[in-house]
C-alpha cells in the first residue's frame, strides 16, 4: 500500500476505474463467491431502502401521501411526476411513521393489507422496508461526518506530530476507554435530558459521530506516519508544495483504501447498532420506522401462533448482517497486507 502513487489526473479516470477493478485486492475479492453474494444482497438492501416508497407504498389516506401532495399512492411509482422524486429524495417525516392497521396490541397474521402481519397494530412489512431507509439514511450521514472529521484530524495528527499528535492521541485514548455502546448511551441520555423534545435522529447522529471518528483518525494517522517520509512527498515539498497541498494531494489519498474499507464496514454495523439501541428503547419513539422496536415488540408475543411477529424482523436483520459481514470480511482480508 505504501508505494501506490498519488491520485492520477482526471484525464486518466476511465482507465483508473479499470485499474481499480483489476487491482490485486479487488481481483481477490471478485474471486470470493460468498463475498460477491454478500455484496449483491447488501446492494439489494440499499435498493430496498431507496425504493421504499414504491415497495411499501403508503396507504391512500395516510399523512405521508397527503404531505407529499400526491393525488393517489400510485403517483409515487411514476417517475414522470414530481411526487416520485420528492418521495425518493426528500420524503416527509410522516412517511417514516409506520402504518397502523389497528390499535389492538394483539398481532394479526400476514394478510393482503399487511404482508408480514402486524405487531402492536403496526404493519411489520412497512416498518421493515421504511426502516431500511431510516437505517441507511442515518448510516450515510454518520459515516460521512465521521469519515471527514476522522481523516482531517488523523492527517493533522500524523503529519505535524509533536504535541498536537500527542494531545489528539491521548484524547482518543480517553474516548476508547469506554465501550462504544456505553458512550453512546451516555451521550444520548445527556442530549435528551438537556434538549427535551429534540428530533430523535439528532442525538443518535451526534452520539455515533462522537464515538466513530476516532477509529478513522487512528488509521489515517498511522498511514500518514508511514507515507510522509516517502520520496514523492519530499519531491513535492522541494517543488514548493505547502502543507495543506501535501496532505490533501499526496498523503491522504494513499490511506484512502483502508479508510474506505472501514467506512463500508461501518455502513453495515451502524444500522445494527442503532437497531440494538432502539430495541433497548433508547433510539426512536414507538411507531417510527426502524428495525429495533419491531424485534422488541416480539418479546411480548413468543407463542408459536404469533411466529410472524419475530420471524420476519429477525430474518430481515440477520440477512442484512450476514450479507455485510460476508462482504466486509473479504474486503478487509483483501486489503490486509498480512494475507496478501
Amino acid at each position: 500500500m505504501t508505494s501506490v502513487p498519488a491520485a492520477p489526473p482526471a484525464s486518466e479516470k476511465r482507465s483508473a476505474v479499470r485499474d481499480f477493478l483489476s487491482s490485486r485486492p479487488i481481483m481477490k475479492l471478485r474471486r470470493n463467491k460468498l463475498a460477491m453474494i454478500g455484496l449483491v444482497v447488501a446492494l439489494l438492501f440499499l435498493l430496498v431502502g431507496f425504493f421504499a416508497p414504491i415497495i411499501a407504498r403508503p396507504a391512500a389516506d395516510s399523512n405521508c401521501v397527503r404531505d407529499l401532495g400526491a393525488s393517489s399512492p400510485q403517483q409515487l411509482a411514476n417517475p414522470l411526476s414530481g411526487v416520485f422524486w420528492q418521495a425518493h429524495f426528500a420524503a416527509p417525516d410522516t412517511c417514516y411513521a409506520i402504518e397502523r392497521e389497528s390499535f389492538s396490541p394483539v398481532p394479526s397474521p400476514p394478510s393482503e393489507q399487511a404482508r408480514f402481519g402486524t405487531s402492536q397494530g403496526y404493519d411489520i412489512f412497512y416498518g421493515l422496508i421504511w426502516g431500511t431507509r431510516t437505517m441507511f439514511k442515518l448510516s450515510f450521514i454518520i459515516v460521512g461526518i465521521t469519515l471527514i472529521v476522522g481523516v482531517i484530524v488523523g492527517a493533522i495528527s500524523g503529519y505535524y506530530g509533536g504535541w498536537i499528535d500527542n494531545l489528539i492521541q491521548r484524547f482518543i485514548d480517553v474516548l476508547f476507554a469506554l465501550p462504544g455502546l456505553v458512550l453512546t448511551i451516555i451521550l444520548i441520555t445527556f442530549l435528551k435530558a438537556s434538549n427535551p423534545g429534540i428530533d430523535p435522529s439528532l442525538p443518535i447522529i451526534l452520539a455515533y459521530t462522537v464515538t466513530g471518528w476516532a477509529s478513522y483518525a487512528r488509521i489515517v494517522r498511522g498511514d500518514v506516519l508511514r507515507t510522509r517520509q516517502l520520496e514523492f512527498v519530499d519531491a513535492a515539498r522541494s517543488l514548493g508544495a505547502r502543507d495543506p497541498r501535501l496532505i490533501g494531494r499526496h498523503i491522504v489519498p494513499n490511506s484512502l483504501a483502508s479508510v474506505i474499507t472501514l467506512a463500508v464496514l461501518d455502513l453495515g454495523t451502524i444500522p445494527l447498532s442503532i437497531a440494538a439501541l432502539s430495541f433497548l428503547g433508547l433510539g426512536f419513539p414507538a411507531g417510527y420506522a426502524e428495525w429495533g422496536q419491531l424485534v422488541d415488540f416480539a418479546r411480548a408475543w413468543l407463542q408459536p401462533q404469533y411466529w410472524y411477529v419475530m420471524v420476519y424482523p429477525a430474518a430481515f436483520i440477520i440477512l442484512f448482517s450476514l450479507a455485510f459481514n460476508l462482504f466486509g470480511d473479504a474486503l478487509r482480508d483483501a486489503y490486509d497486507p498480512k494475507t496478501r
Binding site: F190, S194, V295, I317
Partner: protein
Amino acid sequence: MLNFIVRRLVQIPLVMLALSVLIVALTMLLTPAQRAAGYIRSDQQAAQLERIIRDRGLDQPFPVQYGKWLQSTLSGDLGFSKSSGQPVLDTIIERLPNTIELTLLTAIPIILIGVWLGTLSALNKDRFIDQVLRVFAVLGYSLPTFVLGIVLLAVLYGYLGWLPGAGQLEVVNQFAIGDLRRYTGMLGVDALLNGRFDIALDVFRHLIMPALTLFIVSSATILKVMRNNMLEALTSDYVRTARAKGLPERTVNLKHARRNALLSIITLGGFLIIGLLSGSIITETIFAYPGIGQWVVQSALQLDVPSVLGFALLSAIIVVVISTLTDILYGVVDPRVRFD
C-alpha cells in the same frame, strides 16, 4: 519489568481523571436545577432545590464544580438513582456481582472452547470440519445480540418451555435468599457456599440463556482470531525448524505453533471481557436479569443522569483496569513488548 508495570499502572489514574473531566463537562449541558435533581432523595428535598444548588456549587464555574464533584465522588457520594430508588453506589454494589457472575460463567467457556475450535479449524484447514466451523463463525458474529437473544427466548422459553424466560430466581426461592450468608454478592456462588444447591441450580437455570446468547456471539470471534493466528504460526520459520528437527507433529502443533498463537488471545481476552460488558447491557435487558446493564438501560430511559454517570465511571474503571492487566500480562509472557 518492574519499570514496565509501574509505567502502565500510573496511566490508570491519569486516564480516569481525563475521562471524569470529560464526563463532568458533559453534565454542563444540563441546567443547575437538572444537575441538582440528581441528588434529591425525597419530596421534601425537592423543595430545597435552591439550597442543594448552593451547597454543591452547581451554579459555579466548571473548574469549581469539577473540584466539588471530585471531592464528593471520591468520598463515595455518586448521587441518588431515581431508577433504582437508592443511592447510585448502593445500586452498583448490589447489582455488579450479578453481572460479574454472568460474565464469568460466559467468559471461561468462550475462551476455552473458542481456542480449542480455532486450533481444530486451523489444523484441518479447508477440510470438512474447518468449513463447518467457519460457517459457524460467520453466523456467530453476524447475529446481532438482541436478535439472537429474542430468538433463543422464543425457542427455549416460548416454544419449548425448557428454561425460565426472565429474572434471576423463581418466586418460591426469592424468599429464601434472605437466609443466605452473602460472601461474594454473587447469588449462585453464595448459594453454593451456603450449601443451598436448589437455589444455586435455580440461579444457574436462569443464567443459561443470557450466557448462551453471549457465548454464541463472542466465541465466534475468538475462534476466528485463533484460527488466523494458528495458520500464521504454522507457516512461520520456527515451526519449519521444529519440523526439520524431526519433532513429532503433535509437539510442533501444540508446543510451537499454538503457544505463539495464544499470545494475542491474552489481548483478545481483555477485549472480550470489555465486549461482554456491552453485551450484558443488551442480554440483561432481554432476560430481565438484575445486573448493572439492565439498570443503566432503565436509567437512560428515565433520563436518570446520576445513574448513567455512575455506570460510565464504573465501566471506565473496568475497561482501564482490564486493559492495563492484559498489557502487563502480555509483557510477562512476551518479553519483546516490555522494551517498547
